[in-house]
């Protein structure tokens, strides 16, 4: 019934949703959505590097995003500029440099739209391997740092005082962010990855009363978004990324009705 590429896209998208669900919750809790944008914009540089040196896209995006994250941390320590200005500086300059470099790579035919907004046709069986092994690793590491990360999200000093080493958890989380962007870039596109992180999590916030439940609903929301989005992408011949994000938005809007109800119940 399905063409082979569609099954591949579906399996890839499901793998991605399992990872963006829990990470997206932390992005919302820690107010990191602009940080996610910065990392994903810098991913364009990673893509050009992959084409130039014939590397795996996910791996080179992961490396470049990690480097950008490190540069950001250094800039935060060494300059007096506010955090959002630094993020904007890095996000747009790395996007610009990436686009300029693409201009020089005349020997390769680029599908810019595919890079920016995702392309389900581009998912290969190798990508599935990267997404599922990478995704499993990300989730295992997140599980290991869950307690210190959550505790320091609630209160940094409490976590530090009671010996949980929040700085280490934060550094590891930054690397996980780079990794999730690396595995989802082909599918969702670099302009929309942050949407995949925060919209299902925002939807989940509306219907959860504990951190664990919010993670669970965020995963379910992501899965539904991927499945609905990909089917409509196939049906209406739209890009995969925007279709998935639009599906996530619809779920978010539906979740608002639940809030209304619970407010009514309280009154």
């Amino acid at each position: 019934m399905f063409d082979d590429f569609f099954i591949r896209a579906l399996v890839a998208g499901i793998g991605i949703a399992f990872v963006t669900g829990p990470l997206g919750c932390f992005v919302v809790w820690r107010r990191l959505s602009y940080f996610g944008d910065t990392l994903s914009h810098s991913a364009l540089l990673g893509v050009t590097m992959a084409y130039t040196f014939d590397l795996n896209i996910a791996i080179s995006v992961f490396l470049i995003s990690s480097v950008i994250a490190l540069i950001l941390i250094q800039l935060q320590k060494k300059t007096n500029l506010p955090g959002d200005a630094l993020l904007g500086l890095l996000a747009h300059s790395s996007l610009a440099v990436g686009l300029v470099v693409i201009g020089f790579l005349t020997f390769i035919r680029f599908d810019i739209m595919g890079l920016l907004f995702g392309d389900i046709l581009a998912v290969t069986t190798d990508d599935l391997l990267v997404i599922w092994t990478g995704g499993a690793l990300i989730l295992i590491v997140l599980k290991l740092i869950w307690k210190p990360l959550l505790a320091s999200t609630v209160n940094y000093e409490l976590a530090e005082a009671e010996g949980l080493n929040p700085d280490r958890a934060k550094a590891i989380f930054t690397i996980l962010m780079a990794a999730v962007i690396a595995i989802s870039i082909k599918m969702v596109g670099l302009l929309l990855i942050t949407g995949m992180l925060i919209i299902p999590a925002a939807m989940a916030r509306n219907i959860s009363d504990s951190p664990q439940k919010m993670v669970l609903f965020s995963i379910i929301g992501g899965l539904l978004s991927v499945i609905l989005g990909l089917y409509s992408s196939l049906e209406f011949n739209t890009s995969s990324g925007p279709s998935i994000i639009a599906a996530a938005l619809i779920l978010f809007i539906l979740s608002l009705f639940k809030i209304k109800q619970s407010i009514k119940l309280k009154n």
Partner: protein, 248 residues
Amino acid sequence: MNSNNNILVKLNNAGFRQSEKWLVEGVSLTVEKGKIVTLIGPNGSGKSTTAKIALGIYKNIEGTVEKYTTKVGYVPQKISIDWTLPIRVYDFMLLTETIEDSAIDEALSLTGVIHLKNKNLGSLSGGEFQRVLIARAISKKPELLVLDEPVQGVDYTGEIALYELIKKISDTLNCGILLISHDLHMVMTATDHVVCLNGHVCCSGSPIDVAKNNEYKALFGEKASQILTTYEHKHDHVHSDEGEIKKN
């Protein structure tokens, strides 16, 4: 190094400077098992800073901190829960350590908030939240308990009960407590050792010794010390209005 193995944390001439301004300096104190050490002093005198130095939250400090325990419970002075994080009292109790449900219930009952167990943390009143904070800190049965104004916002009868609880915990768990409090009555009756701060250590000793101290009187007024004594002794310095120390 630790000759007395009752010592939990020891500050040696410790201080902390933030952008060229000393928040507190030259603090030496020791918290031992089963003892309550109380920090008193006016606003901005470095009480919370001293507690954070003892806890290891501040890293680039002057002097040294020797810490002989990792089982620490902390009630911070101020904590705000972001609306974006849905978290119940129950989840909050498990924040830094996995503990048994029975221990959670016991701690929440001791501080009188067991009925709030499944409530969202953001929906609690100030006093209720303080009780939850104390319950969380004691439920992990710490060796060192650091309480930064633990009863702020708690009603009067609750305040007395909570201080009695703190005293009881120090006895039953044999844990050392570093307490920051404005309640001088509590300080005078339940504390083993008082450190009076005003950017540095003004005076320290047993509650009675401190109450007799002139600097204590200068900081808290005659009334505060009249409870106990009219004894006076000599001082080598006074404080100007700007908080500077002037030698006599």
